[in-house]
Amino acid sequence: MPAAADQAYVTLATTDSYCMGALVVGQCLRRHGTTRHTVVMVSPNVSRQARAALGQVFDHVLVVDVLDSGDWAHLYWLGRPELGVTFTKIHCWTLTQYRKCVFLDADILVLCNVDELFEREELSAAPDPGWPDCFNSGVFVFRPSLDTHARLLEHARYHGSFDGGDQGLLNTFFSDWAVKDIKKHLPFVYNLSANTMYTYLPAYQQYGHNAKIVHFVGLVKPWNLCSASQTSLPINSQLEEFVYQCPSQQQSPGCGERPKGTEDRALLIDDFTEPLLREVTLGTDQRPDPPRQLRETHTKPEDVSTVKDGGAKHNAPGPIEEHEPERRWLWEEGHIDYLGKDSFDNIQKKLDRFLD
C-alpha cells in the first residue's frame, strides 16, 4: 500500500490517564480498518506498562520531551493547567518520515473509518464550537516539516498563545484558516464536541447521528469517570452517559430524546475498550482521578448554573453496593422495571417500614 506508507495518524499521551484515551483512539482506528500507520507520542513520565499497552495497539510509540509553554500565569488564569503539556503536540511536525499526517487528540472517539481525511491539505481542521473562526486543534491534517516546526517554536516564543495552549498557538500561526480556503474546513462531524452539542439542539438532532469523531473536550474525560474497582457496568453507562449527558446540563425541551445511533455507540465503546482500560489501570498501579475531584471542578462559580443536573452523575463512594446501584442507574436512564422489581408494592413495603 504505497499510498498508506507515508501517511499516519498521530496521537499524544502525556500522562497515564491520557494513555487510556490514546488506547481507545488506536483501537478505534484499527477496528474501523484504517490503512494508515498509527503513531503515539508519549512523554517520558508515562509509565513503562502504559507504553507497553500502547505498543500493542500502535505501530510506533515515540517518546517526546515535554515542551512547556512556560506561560504559567496565563494558564492558571485559564484554569486549565494541564493544557500546557499539550505543547508537546507541535513535536508532531518532526515526524518527517511521513508525508502527511492526521493528528487526533487522545480524548476523542473515532466512530467510523476516516481515512478520507488524508485527502485534505495542511492545515485542515474543524471549527471550534466556542469560536467558529478558530479551528479546534483536536483533529487536524498536517504535513510534517522541520521548517514548520522551527517556525512554530519561534512563533510560540515571540507571540505566546492567547489561550495558553496549543490551540491558541496554532490558530495564530495558521491565521488565514478561517478565510482562505474552505477545503481546509473539516465538517463539524469530524470533531463533534461532546459537551457543546446542545447549544444548537435541532441541528444536533438532525445531524448528530452522522458524527464520525466525537471530542470529549473539557476537564471531565470519559476515562476519569470510572475507578478501577468498578465493574464493567459503570464503565459502560458512564461512557454512554458521557456521550449524551453533558449536553443535558442545558436542559431544553425535548432533550430527553436521544439522537439516533447513540445506543450503538455506547455498546461499541464498551465492547473493546473495557479490557484495555482495565489493563492499563491495573498495570500502572495508579488509579485515575477520583470522582471527588471532578465534582469540585464542576462547582466552580461559573459552572453553578449547569451543575444542577449534570454535576452529580457518578456514584458516590460508600454503601451503595448494597443498594443495587445498577438498578438506580436504570431508573436514571428511564428504564424502570415497573412491572417487576420496581413495582410500587415493593416501594410500599419499604415505606411501611417507617410508617407505623
Binding site: 443535558s248 454535576g311 436512564e333 428511564g334 424502570i336 420496581d342
Partner: protein
Amino acid sequence: MLLTSCYRLFYPTWSVNVLGMPLARSMSITSLSGLEEWDEEFDLEDAVLFEIAWEVANKVGGIYTVIQTKARLTVEEWGENYFLVGPYVESNVRTQVELIEPTDPALKRTIDKMNSSGCKVYFGRWLIEGSPYVVLIDVAFTAWSLDKWKTELWNNFSIGVPWFDREANDAVLFGFLTAWLLGEYAAQCEDPPHILAHFHEWLAGLGLALCRQRQLPVATIFTTHATLLGRYLCAGSVDFYNNLAQFNVDKEAGDRQIYHRYCLERTAARCAHVFTTVSQITAVEAEHLLKRKPDIITPNGLNVKKFSAMHEFQNLHAQSKNRIQEFVRGHFYGHLDFNLDKCLFLFIAGRYEFSNKGADIFLEALARLNYLLRVNHSEVTVVAFFIMPARTNNFNVETLKGQAVRKQLWDTAHLVKERFGKKLYESLLIGQLPDVSKMLDKEDFTMMKRAIFATQRQCQPPICTHNMLEDSTDPILTCIRRIGLFNSSSDRVKVIFHPEFLSSTSPLLPMDYEEFVRGCHLGVFPSYYEPWGYTPAECTVMGIPSISTNLSGFGCFMEEHIADPSAYGIYILDRRYRGVDESCNQLTSYLFQFCQQSRRARIIQRNRTERLSDLLDWRYLGRYYIAARHMALAKAFPDTYYYQPHESDTNQGFRYPRPASVPPSPSLSRHSSPHHSEAEEDDDRYDEDEEAEKDRVNIRQPLPLPSKKGPAVPYGLPVPSANGNGDRATKGEKN
C-alpha cells in the same frame, strides 16, 4: 312529545347516588346566613403551620390561584404562625414579595443555619391579600447536593429519578430542602411546637415522605388537586371513569414514562397523616390510582366580593350584556334578522382541550338545540361563544370590518339625529309645531342610504373572529363544519369562536373575562375531566347560571350541597353514568329549557344563583381545610389533640330525598312550559327575601365542627337529620 322525553331525562338525575362513596363528614351547622364566625375550639397557641407548594409566589398553573386566594383566611386563623414555603424565582420575588428579616426567632435561626450550610433561603411577605409570610428556597443553588440526595432517595425509598426529567429533579431538591427546613426548625425550637405541614401536589410531596421517614415531629397533610396518571389517561382519550377500578396503575404510569413521578405522588399519599383532594370525583380517582381514599375533601373556594347594593350584580349583567349586544350587532351586520332582546348568550371558556372540556358535546347539543328551536318556531336566538385560546394569526378582516360598519351606522344615526334635533329646535323657536314630513331632507336620506349600502354583505357572518393557523385541522371548526352551524339566517343558534383570551384592550370585544361572564346568560362547561373547575364557580359568584357535570369537582360539590341545583341555575350534567349521546340529549334539554324561560324567570334564577356564592366563599370552604388540619394534628399528636371522626354518618351517604320539613324549592317546571306567556308571570308570586330565607335551609351543611382534646365533650353526634331538620322546622314556622 319531545318535551316530555326531555323531562324524563331531566328528573332522574337527582335520585342517583352520585358516587356511592360516602366520606367522613356530617352536617350540623345551622345556617349559612352571614356565616357566623367559626367557633375556634382548637387551641393552636403552640402550633405552627407550614404550607408547602411549588406554586407559592410562583404561578405555573391553577394551584397558584387556590393558595393565593386561600391565604387571607389562613392568616386570619394562624396569624404569625403561618408560613408558606415555595421555590425562589427571582422574577416573581421582584414583583410579588417583600423580603424581610424572619419574624420568628426559631425560624430565623433555622434560615441562618441553612444559609451557612450552602443553601439560599429567603424570608418575606407575599404581597397578596392577607400578606402571609413566605419562606422561599433557591432550589438551583443547592443543585450540588442533587446526587447525594438522589442516593439517599434511592436508599430509603427505592425510587430513582431520571436525569432528563428536570421537573422531577427539582422536586427532589425541593423535597429535601423542605424536609431540611422542617427538621431544622423542629431542632431550633426550645419548646418543640406542634408543627403542621401541608403539602400540595406531587412536586412538593417528597418533603412529606422525608418528614415521615426521618420521624420528624410534624403532622403532615397531602393534597392532590388532580392525579398525574388521571390527567395523562384522560388526555389519551381512554374510557377513564368506566375503567377506573381496572387499571394496572404501575403499568399505565410506566408505559407513559411518568412512573417516577407517580411513585413520588403515591409515596406522599401513602405517608401523609391526612390525605385530601379537591372533589368527590378526584377522590374516586385518587382511591383507584393512588390507592388511598382521601380522608376529607377540601374544595377550592373564591374570595367573594359582596356588593353593598343588593342587586348590583343584576345591573352589572345588564351593562355587560349591552356591550356584548353591541359586539353581536357588528358581528352579524347585514344579517341582523333576529331580535336581540330575545337573544341569549351562552359561553364556554377554558384551556383548549376539545373533549376534556366538553366542547365536543356542547357543539353537538347546540346543533340539536338549533333543530328544536326551529321546529318549535321559537323566537329565541342563541349566540354561543367559545373562548378557548388557540394558535392564531390575529383578528380576521371580516370581523373587524363588522365592528367598523356598526360604528359607522351609529355615527350616521347620530349625525341625522343632530340635524333632526336642530330643525326641531328651530321650528319650536318660531312657535310652530314641526312638520314631520320635512324633518328629514334628501341629504339625510342619501347619507342613510349610503350607510345601509355599506352594510350589504354577501358572505355569512364569520364563525371565528381570528385567522386560525391550523384552520383545516382545528377540532372546533372541523366539528362546526360537520354539524353545519354556519350562522345562516335560518339558524336559531349562532356560533362565535374567539380563540384568544379576552382583554379589555381588544379592538373587537373590549371586555375582560369577568365583564364578559357577567354579560352572558349561561356558562356551559360539560367537561369530562375537571378535578375542580373554577369557571362555573366564578359564574356562580357573579350570579350567572351554569351547566357543569358530575365529573367535575364543582358539579359534585353542588350536587351534594343543594337539594335542587337546577332551580338555582346550577345544571349538572350526568356524564358519569350515561353514554355520550345520552349526555348530549340531557345537555340539549337543559339548553332548550333555559331558552324557554321568560326574562323574569331568568332574573329570579340569577338571584338564586348569586345566593349560592356564600357556599363558594373561602370563609365557608376554608372549614374543610381547618378540619383536615385538626385531623392531622390529632393523628400526629394524639396526646394533645383530639378529633372525633364522624363514622356515624357513613351509613347516611348523600342521597337526595328532600327533607320533609323543608318547603320545596322553587320548581323550575312552571317557568319552562313551552307555551308560557308573560301574563302568567303575575301569578308567580316571588318574594326574594322569603325565598332567600328558604334557601338557607335548602343548602346542605357540610361539616362538623371538629372538637378539641380534653374534657370538652366530644362533639355530640345527634342523629344528623333530627338536629338539622329540627332546626329547620322551627325556622320554617317562624316564617
